[in-house]
């Protein structure tokens, strides 16, 4: 069964754009990644969908946060163009995305603390997806 989560993942996997840039499909996941997994990686989260229209097949909107985790800040920033290219209106996993609105992004720089662990850099991209779900 197609869900909005599977559709967003399908959008991010379109055309092997992320895979070519260093994030293979297996490292694109909903929700979270394992702390010791290989970087760079991509995760995404969805807010609760909002129904916008009346009718049996209504237009819905969901806010989506896409996070790129990379070892260095510049490595994360380099994915902005790819994410923008991927987040476009089309049908993904049989769910039509009528409109995809790019809102903004933020960067959390990589940091090194007193111990021997490094905090990786994170690029967070925010988009609104308008879709209809059968």
């Amino acid at each position: 069964m197609a869900t909005i989560e599977s559709a967003v993942r399908a959008m991010l996997l379109t055309g092997s754009t992320l895979a070519s840039a260093g994030i293979p499909d297996a490292r694109v996941a909903h929700g979270y990644r394992l702390q010791d997994s290989i970087l760079p990686a991509c995760t995404f989260e969805l807010q609760q969908a909002e129904t916008l229209a009346i009718g049996s097949n209504p237009l819905k909107r969901v806010q989506c946060e896409i996070r790129i985790v990379a070892e260095r800040t510049q490595d994360a920033i380099d994915f902005i163009d790819q994410i923008q290219t991927l987040c476009v209106a089309a049908t993904y996993d049989s769910i039509p995305f009528n409109a995809v609105e790019w809102l903004n992004y933020s960067i959390e720089a990589a940091t090194t603390s007193d111990g021997d662990e490094n905090q990786p850099a994170e690029l967070a991209c925010y988009i609104d997806i308008y879709y209809t779900e059968a």
Binding site: T51, L52, A53, I54, S56, N98, A99, L103
Partner: protein, 127 residues
């Protein structure tokens, strides 16, 4: 009792309108003041019933229903509008209306919307 909006729909001239955010039909009966001088209380009689309507839609010219509305707006014709509350029953509100306003809004970081204003002519029927 409550009826979900997912069961509702609206059509114009027999064409279903897609992506309707809100559909409103308002009946208005003016209260005519007939208070005589010397009276300490106001008195009213009912005027003629009128009806107006409005639609907020997520505007898309590739939608047949939306282009139908465009045609009605430019032709200045009266057409039958039916607001179906729920298909089982059915529960409907029907009337003949012309489009008196068609306002399209495109905003940054949002989707295109249109607001349509309707003026009904004659009787609006329920059910």
């Amino acid at each position: 009792m409550a009826i979900s909006g997912t069961l509702s729909s609206i059509s114009a001239g027999g064409t279903s309108i897609a992506a309707v955010g809100t559909a409103t039909i308002s009946l208005n009966t003016p209260a005519i003041d007939v208070t005589p001088i010397g009276s300490t209380s106001q008195s009213y009689i009912a005027g003629a019933i009128g009806a107006t309507g409005s639609l907020d839609i997520f505007y898309d010219q590739s939608s047949t229903g939306h282009t139908t509305i465009e045609g009605y707006a430019t032709n200045r014709t009266f057409n039958t509008w039916v607001l179906t509350i729920t298909a089982t029953g059915p529960q409907t509100i029907t009337g003949s209306a012309m489009i008196t306003g068609f306002e399209v809004t495109a905003q940054a970081q949002g989707v295109a919307r249109a607001t349509i204003s309707l003026q009904f002519d004659g009787t609006v029927t329920f059910g």
